[in-house]
Point group: C2
Chain length 191, copies 2
């Protein structure tokens, strides 16, 4: 009776898993219990599968984490940019980057731990590049402005991760600070 093979357990049975499903379960595990909740054994148990099956589908823990971070960064949808002046629009994107990170503190922490914070920010980073260009900055000046803004945002993200309670209270502080950094970079007529 070959049909019974679909529900049988043991070596060789078909669990019907695919990498997407594994990564989705891993992301859920992280969001629920933080980076240290993502162990190969717990993930396998969650999927009702042997531990080593994970290795077949996505590889080592390091590769799994990379896939999880990539998945989350894809979810970071293109956000509507608000504001009429360049400084307003750039500040708007910067704020979205910080909010996106702090709204998913567990994955953000995971990304930082493996040095992939920048990958998490990448989709919105492109919007930032576009707005900086629209403000009239080119070449080295544009690159420096982008980096100064991203480094400042990173500080608020990282400290916000450590203390989510005061992170909310830092919203006004962030707005004023990021505007000071942006204004320092924009040409006269744009600020």
């Amino acid at each position: 009776m070959p049909a019974a093979a679909a529900t049988a357990s043991g070596p060789g049975r078909r669990a019907g898993l695919d990498p997407d499903e594994v990564v989705a379960a891993a992301l859920a595990l992280v969001e629920a219990g933080g980076p240290e909740a993502l162990t190969m054994r717990k993930l396998a148990a969650e999927l009702g599968v042997g531990t080593t099956t994970i290795y077949w589908h996505v590889g080592s823990r390091e590769e799994l984490i990379a896939a999880v971070v990539r998945r989350r960064s894809e979810q970071q949808a293109a956000t509507p940019i608000r504001g009429a002046t360049p400084i307003d629009r750039i500040a708007s994107v910067a704020t979205h980057i910080m909010r996106g990170a702090l709204d998913h503190p567990q994955v953000t922490t995971l990304a930082y731990q493996v040095g992939a914070l920048s990958e998490l920010e990448q989709p919105l980073e492109e919007a930032l590049v576009a707005e900086i260009a629209a403000a009239g900055l080119r070449g080295r000046a544009a690159a420096d402005a982008l980096r100064a803004i991203l480094l400042t945002v990173a500080g608020f993200i990282v400290v916000g991760l450590e203390d989510p309670a005061t992170a909310k209270a830092d919203a006004r502080l962030f707005d004023r600070t990021i505007r000071a950094v942006i204004a320092d970079r924009l040409p006269e007529e744009a600020s």
Copy 2:
């Protein structure tokens, strides 16, 4: 022959360890091999002692790490503050905080992982408070200025830890950015 007890090994022998020695060895282990090199077993082996002896002297790994971070923050000597104007002096302290952190990337990473980045910065933070007061800021304005500066510094530290190579190239970027943040907070006559 009771004198032989001093060199004998086994349960009950006196190894002559004290907490200071344990913490010093732990710090050395971190500086040499990063946070993950600090395991209770490796540390004990380094000290030529049984694993559980660590628990007797300093407690759990968490307490050990706290002690290591504290030790490192004490080493962060009071640094000479350069500059004549308030903005120069504040920027000088901020730069020292960043440099101190990036000069010891392994311990700084460890401190961040356990949410103790601020403890590492504490000795220099007091100097920062003094300079902000000397610049004429009081109360809420002083507190906000301090926090804005520390958050910005944190960004440069964290990204610098991820990529030490470009961290050096970011020195000028840091100087200009931190000055923009400081100037935004100082009263007219002080900038």
